[in-house]
Amino acid sequence: MISFTINGESKSSDVDPETPLLWVIRDHIGLQGTKFGCGMALCGACTVHMNGDPIRSCSVPLSAVSGQKITTIEGLGKNGLTEVQKAWLEHGVPQCGYCQSGQIMSATALLAKNPNPSDDDIDTAMSGNICRCGTYPRIRAAIHTAAKNMKHP
């Protein structure tokens, strides 16, 4: 039995501890905002936070999250949209939207650590997240907007 916190709620799971966190979140806990893209930590669609840091949940076994705090897209903005989500809407970022949960989780973690990221900082933090629709220019713009609005809400 492995216990951890997800979006502020305590959970225990008795599935095979080698099961990737992604499938525990999607199939056992039933939170489907986190997506499966590649299974090899190459595309970032499955990005969630562990204690605030972005991790690729497709490649992290359940055993590694024992006692940890996990946040998924559903755990953002308990009081409405976050500044990142608002900026995403303002810039019309999503197209198919499939990668966007992961993109938003990566961007949120970046801004928590670095409230004023440069373009290079954004490249470094976001280059693990693939978007086949090519929303990258808008993601970049939205991160700058969110950074600005987080300082002067």
Partner: protein
């Protein structure tokens, strides 16, 4: 309340309508109602439902990121005079009624056709509905309809201070004769032609959108399918004892060409699949490789192909030309690599089948399901989910067939979910293309002749046998469509021509007196399919690079050279001039930066792009800036057009710089994003988009932004290095 499943069937049975519903529609007597101008009112209708408490727009196009849900809802909201937020948008189920205004011939989304096909019909439907609601209200209030006005889903009669929501009058409106629609004055538009936020933005930034992969049916099993790595191979022997004993495993099914593992969860199925021991009959393609394919193409290129364009006479023109140039251009197979891997959920009982699929073509899905289950269309329900990228991949319903086959076999709902590796190795790839070109110029530098020989597989020869069922009358049994499918396949083999192979090559717009384009149909057997902008995605690279070569041969500026040869093509010229102006072509580029330009027309739209790029000492390519201009006629959602240009440019840059599927031993060598790389944010240039104001007929934008970017980049790299790159992906490291 009205059943969601509105169709021709229950229209004919007269069971769907209720007094509370106003449903506006087309003349069901003729399937060409939309195409002709015979749009009339009938009840019920598949696109618009007005109920007492809701207004529902049924979207018969697949929203796959291109923003068609927003664009079409804008049109409906505009003419119905409701707020965009008042519309509930519902995905249409598979129904033949949705082929009526689809010039693809079936219920499918592709070919940048959705706005082109839907704008006028939806405008009429919405405007007619508004007119009928007004008349119903006026009748009830006993006032002159001409004195009524509407706003945000309400009808007002100001003189008597009467007002009421549309829903109140929906029942009465149904019984009225159909009026001629009165359209809004475009000057008063609230939505159309104004940059509008996506209707699904909120759901997509909060993770609430339900894609195919998110479908959960009580009691469903998860299937993972091990397919023969070699195309066309099948199972020789299977040992599944260990896999059967693996946790959660319920069934292991040998389909002959693959082995499916069905378990309680996806992860259990995957783990068990690793325990299978399968040997394969590799089949005819076991020895196939990219090298062998290329050698075959080189041999074919020596012979004349099927002529697809002939202007003047190219014979002996090489002797008359002042200078000539010969070149070979090559592009590889490409995977779609949609972010959401292929998946489908199916439930099959003895007398019904329900399917949830991320598909671009519910119409083809329906025929595939009919074929497998033997059920009548009335017993089959195809739900289109949100889809995580299409790009043409989801025009094939192979994964739907898998789910339905398995669900029928085990009698419980089944979800099939592909891994990324399966997705990469069992795609319907953008066809490989081998091109031999030659051209010559006269003493003024103008082209004298242009010869272009295209060698490659034909998409339609493979696709039509699969899709024909959705295009023939619905009463024809699946056996007939199977036969017709075979026939169309043979027809393509016989005719040896396929528009998708030479589109963009045979329709070059430049003024050249002697042109010969011919084509060799050569299918090595690798599955091929529609890939964003289809033939244009590779042929624009050939044509727009080669015209640059001729400009260089003539010693002329590549922009000016194109300009002169496009004097009779105002729309090509319009976009070309615009990007030249916006990138400041006539002034030198910043130090160390080099420019290239290209233009291309496809799917009725015209697009030009100019690129600024640099090359490092070690030969690494960096794209700094792309400027694009599009002429697609009048625009519904300018922000949607810009987003599609950005999207197509980045998709095109992935192909220009990275994408390559290679074949070894009859199988695809690449497997995931480490060896089939796509553009990432750190490689993405600054993109500027410009929309030409146009009164030409409306056309699409999903694809036309893609073709010009690879040649524009190759042309910039020529400017930077003097080296002409004639093969995609572009590389300066292995010259």
């Amino acid at each position: 309340m009205l059943d969601q499943n509105i169709s021709r069937r229950n229209f004919l049975q007269g069971t769907a309508a209720t007094a509370a519903s106003l449903i506006v529609g087309i003349d069901l007597v003729t399937d060409k109602a939309f195409a002709s101008e015979t749009l009339v009112m009938s009840l019920p209708n598949p696109w618009l439902r007005i109920d007492s408490d809701s207004i529902t727009f049924v979207l018969d196009k697949t929203e796959m990121g291109q923003g068609i849900n927003t664009a079409l809802a804008m049109i409906v909201a505009e003419e119905l005079d409701v707020d965009l937020e008042q519309l509930t948008i519902e995905n249409a189920i598979a129904d033949r009624i949705y082929t009526t205004h689809n010039d693809l011939g079936a219920q499918m989304t592709g070919g940048s056709s959705s706005v082109r096909n839907s704008w006028q019909p939806l405008k009429k439907i919405a405007a007619t509905a508004r007119q009928m609601l007004i008349q119903a209200a006026a009748k009830e209030w006993n006032v002159d309809p001409a004195e009524c006005r509407t706003a945000s889903g309400m009808i007002y009669h100001d003189k008597t201070a009467k007002k009421g929501p549309y829903g109140t009058f929906a029942g009465a409106a149904r019984k009225l004769p159909v009026p001629a629609p009165q359209f809004k004055d475009p000057a008063t538009y609230r939505y159309v032609a104004k940059a509008t936020k996506r209707v699904d933005g909120h759901a997509k930034v909060t993770g609430q959108t339900k894609y195919g992969i998110d479908t959960v049916i009580p009691g469903m099993l998860s299937a993972t399918i091990v397919r023969c790595p070699v195309f066309g191979g099948n199972v020789k022997s299977l040992h599944d004892k260990q896999a059967k004993a693996s946790p959660g495993v319920k069934h292991i099914i040998n389909t002959g060409t693959s082995v499916a593992v069905l378990a309680d969860t996806y992860w259990q199925a995957r783990q068990a699949a690793k325990l299978l021991t399968i040997t394969w009959y590799d089949g005819e393609l076991a020895g196939l490789s990219s090298d062998k394919i290329r050698q075959e193409f080189i041999e074919l290129a020596k012979k004349d192909g099927k002529v697809t364009r002939e202007d003047g006479d190219v014979k002996n023109k090489d002797k008359l030309a002042v200078k000539t140039i010969d070149a070979v251009y090559e592009t590889p197979y490409l995977a779609h690599a949609t972010m959401e891997p292929q998946n489908c959920v199916a439930r099959v009982t003895s007398d019904s089948c329900e399917v949830w699929a991320p598909t671009q073509t519910p119409g083809v899905c329906m025929e595939v399901v009919r074929g497998i289950t033997g059920l009548a269309a009335s017993k089959i329900k195809i739900h289109t989910t949100a889809i995580g990228g299409g790009f043409g991949r989801r025009l094939v319903a192979d994964y739907v067939a898998e789910a339905v086959t398995l669900a029928k076999e085990v009698n419980v709902p089944v979800r099939v979910l592909w891994s990324r590796e399966e997705d990469m190795r069992h795609d319907f790839y953008r066809p490989i293309s081998y091109n031999v070109m030659s051209g010559g110029i006269d003493q003024t530098g103008n082209p004298l002749f242009w010869k272009h020989r295209v060698i490659g597989p034909a998409i339609l020869a493979q696709f039509l046998p699969h899709a024909i069922g959705a295009m023939i009358p619905p009463w024809m049994p699946p056996s007939v469509s199977k036969l017709l499918g075979k026939f169309t396949g043979f027809t393509f083999h016989g005719l040896k021509v396929d528009d998708t192979s030479t589109e963009g090559a045979k329709d070059i717009p430049y003024k050249v007196p002697n042109i010969l384009v011919d084509y060799h149909y050569a299918d090595p057997g690798v599955p091929v399919g529609f890939w964003r902008s289809v033939g244009h995605s590779h042929q624009a690279f050939m044509v727009e690079s080669f015209i640059d070569e001729l400009a260089n041969l003539a010693g002329k500026d590549p922009y000016i050279y194109r300009r002169e040869l496009l004097a009779d093509q105002p729309r090509n010229l319009g976009v070309l001039d615009r990007v030249a102006k916006e990138i400041n072509w006539s002034s030198p580029a910043p130090k160390g930066i080099f420019r290239g330009i290209a233009q291309h027309a496809c799917f009725g739209s015209f697009c030009a792009e100019a690129v600024e790029a640099s090359v490092s000492e070690s030969g690494d390519i960096k794209v700094h800036r792309v400027v694009a201009a599009i002429d697609c006629g009048p625009v519904v959602n300018p922000d949607g057009v810009r987003a599609q240009l950005e999207s197509a440019i980045i998709f095109g840059l992935s192909a220009a710089l990275k994408g390559e599927i290679t074949i070894e031993n009859g199988q695809v060598k690449q497997s995931n994003f480490h060896d089939y790389a796509v553009l990432r944010i750190n490689e993405t240039p600054k993109i500027e988009t410009h929309i030409i104001e146009s009164t030409e007929p409306v056309t699409g934008v999903g694809e036309p932004g893609l073709p010009p970017v690879a040649p524009a980049l190759a042309n910039a790299l020529f400017a930077a290095t003097g080296k002409r790159l004639r093969k995609l992906p572009l590389s300066l490291n292995n010259l």
